[in-house]
Symmetry: C2
Subunit: 376 residues, 2 copies
DNA sequence: CGCGATGCTGCAAACCTTTGCAGCCGAAGT
DNA sequence: ACTTCGGCTGCAAAGGTTTGCAGCATCGCG
């Protein structure tokens, strides 16, 4: 039913190759002919079949974006940035969600492999070795994880964690908890490592709780454990968990930040909407999306993996060029952190009280401390 | 570089057609042969090229999902539901975001057309006629809009709006504002229509503000206008706008719900996290996603639009079977609505006061009123 | 007038699969 | 012993496009 290139050729009295060129190499065809072809194409509602084209050129002009959890507000800015960057280069982005499931991740890479020119693997939960293996099937750029030999873009959560911990230590906190993220998360490991050294260096004591699902309910479920741990400050794997934790503490009668200081990571927009507004480590998600698309497109425009185009030669050599980019993070201080309680512990028996002054806190400019930046 | 069916055939000493059948019709090939072929395929890391397969079968086992704004928390549950439903039927979902841009919408449909078996068009902003035209290019299911002759799944926002307005009128509100949504939104028109008749029937007066971008900033930008309108209650096009409006009113010194009652639409999870918790019309987004996938798959499994499979006959006749489903909505009463102020107007000069009792409101079961349900 | 260059178009192979048809072989039925 | 049948496999066309190569005029130049 849909018009093919042949229909157009017949209608305009030229060979199919001329029709093809009209679309893919207009300068090679006589303007007059081209006009006639275009008219017929328009008339018949012809659109090139991208699948057929991909079959021979080896390039689909699509890129796949695999996301751990689309419901996490952390991702949409990244997705949008990737899409707009891709659109500028005449590419389309197909997003797929894995529900934090490593199996689904692998399956999706396979499914996408032949339908896209490359895949952006965002916050993968699978093993490094599997990622490496999959990268032989389709060009991969990894986001939020470092895998040796593959192009990666990560956030410098290590620096962000240090900044957060120093902020808390400066405020007099000594007993600090870390709510870690999901099993398999590179970011979570980085945070944990950095938190460990930073707290120790500051003479504090770190309690690690987890692994946990990186969601709001994952956070609220930890309120009881946080109370029992007797800490005065908490760093959460992400904002969602931090917000959930605040909810949970609230239900337990513990006030934030008077009794417990809470800091999140990501700086999702939601973190500015809750009460108290969340102190958090801002990660440049949009930049990550853009960068990842750039790396992917540069990486495979260099060596077109075309069907005919004479397969790329160096399988090992071009690893030299695979970049690993790490993006700067920033600590944004808002209303969920305060000086440690005088007795050095949160009060175990908080009475019910009208909400504290943070409710009235003005919209003043948030304090900002910068983290590090690295690239290689 | 990637292994093709021919490589496997050579390696296992059979014809390519046997390899093909090993995967697509296993019962037609001798178990012994099949075993050998599978072994070789595994060995070589062979994966069928879905693009090539699609070229001949006419079915890609992909479905496209076009979304107005992926950053709107309304959509993720719909996306996830669609994905899981599709996965059960061995389909993959590709999500694309249009940034509320009608042009991008059209372009995406074209881009997806040949790479998917059908497209779910969610909250489209383009014209009905264009949608109808595009539906001749690829099977379409429309979500959040009714288009004659096309399968649609919508939410009964009309009933939800009526319930919300009755709730407000019962609470003594008479001057009510409606924050309408983006231009081109079917839902927004439905809400406006229903709001008009409901408020008039209740002896109230409706002020319509809009159209507006359906975002948090879109809502907060309207605070000033809402104040000037002198209304005591507001229904917003969606929760995001409602939450933004509450922020904006707060900045103006107007308290919700004491001075102004606010109700949203959608019941996104965020609406339970803000203070005050939002009264809102819950829409069954997950059900919508599932239903839409079902309608699409049923619709085109009936008549395979295969290349060879003898094109479908009835172009008009099968319209009889195109269903239009409308899903039930529910009014969820939380803390952002209250009785109208005694003087019938919000106080124009609110003093700064410690936050009201809604801060302490327990997690009690929300009151629920049911809306209608329709199907044809 | 001849020659090469230039601009445009047609030809046909190739991309990777699926699938209708035909062929082969052994077994079962008559 | 001859047919029939069934199970399995091979053959080749088809699907829609791109692209290197070759052919053909036309044109400019010497």
């Amino acid at each position: 039913m849909p018009a093919t290139i042949r229909d157009v050729a017949r209608a305009s009295g030229v060979h199919i190759s001329t029709v093809s060129r009209t679309f893919s190499a207009p300068h090679l065809v006589n303007p007059e002919t081209r006009g006639r072809v275009l008219a017929c194409a328009e008339e018949l509602g012809y659109r090139p079949n991208r699948a057929a084209r991909a079959l021979i050129t080896g390039r689909t002009h699509n890129i796949g974006l695999i996301i751990a959890d689309i419901a996490n507000p952390f991702f949409p800015p990244l997705i949008k940035a990737a899409e707009s960057q891709a659109r500028q280069r005449d590419y389309h982005v197909f997003v797929a969600d894995t529900n934090e499931d490593p199996i689904a991740e692998e399956e999706l890479v396979h499914a996408l492999a032949k339908q896209v020119d490359g895949v952006l693997l965002c916050s993968p939960r699978m093993s490094n070795s599997l990622i490496e293996q999959l990268s032989r099937e389709v060009p991969l750029v990894v986001i939020n994880r470092q895998v040796a030999g593959l192009p990666c873009v990560t956030m410098d959560v290590g620096q962000g964690t240090r900044a957060a911990m120093e902020h808390l230590l400066d405020a007099g906190h000594r007993r600090i908890a870390l709510l870690s993220g999901p099993r398999g998360s590179w970011t979570s490991r980085e945070i944990r490592r950095a938190a460990g050294v930073a707290v120790r260096a500051g003479g504090g004591e770190l309690t690690v709780l987890g692994p946990n699902p990186p969601t709001e309910t994952g956070g609220s479920a930890l309120a009881e454990q946080v109370r029992r741990a007797g800490v005065t400050a908490v760093l959460a794997y992400n904002d969602l968990m931090a917000i959930g934790l605040i909810e949970g503490l609230d239900a337990l009668g513990l006030r934030v930040p008077q009794d417990v200081s809470v800091v999140g990571i990501d700086d999702i927009t939601l973190s500015r909407l809750t009460r108290p507004k969340l102190t958090t480590v801002a990660t440049p998600t949009a930049a990550a999306g853009r960068t990842a698309v750039d790396m992917l497109l540069q990486h495979d425009s260099v060596a077109t993996r075309g069907a005919r185009g004479g397969g790329r030669s160096g399988t090992i050599d071009d690893r030299r060029t695979t970049a690993q980019v790490m993006l700067r993070t920033e600590l944004v201080i808002r209303d969920s952190t305060a000086a440690a309680p005088a007795d050095g512990r949160h009060r175990p028996d908080a009475e019910v009280v009208a909400p504290g002054p943070h409710r009235l806190a003005g919209p003043g400019r948030p304090t900002v401390a910068t983290g590090g930046v690295v690239a290689s």
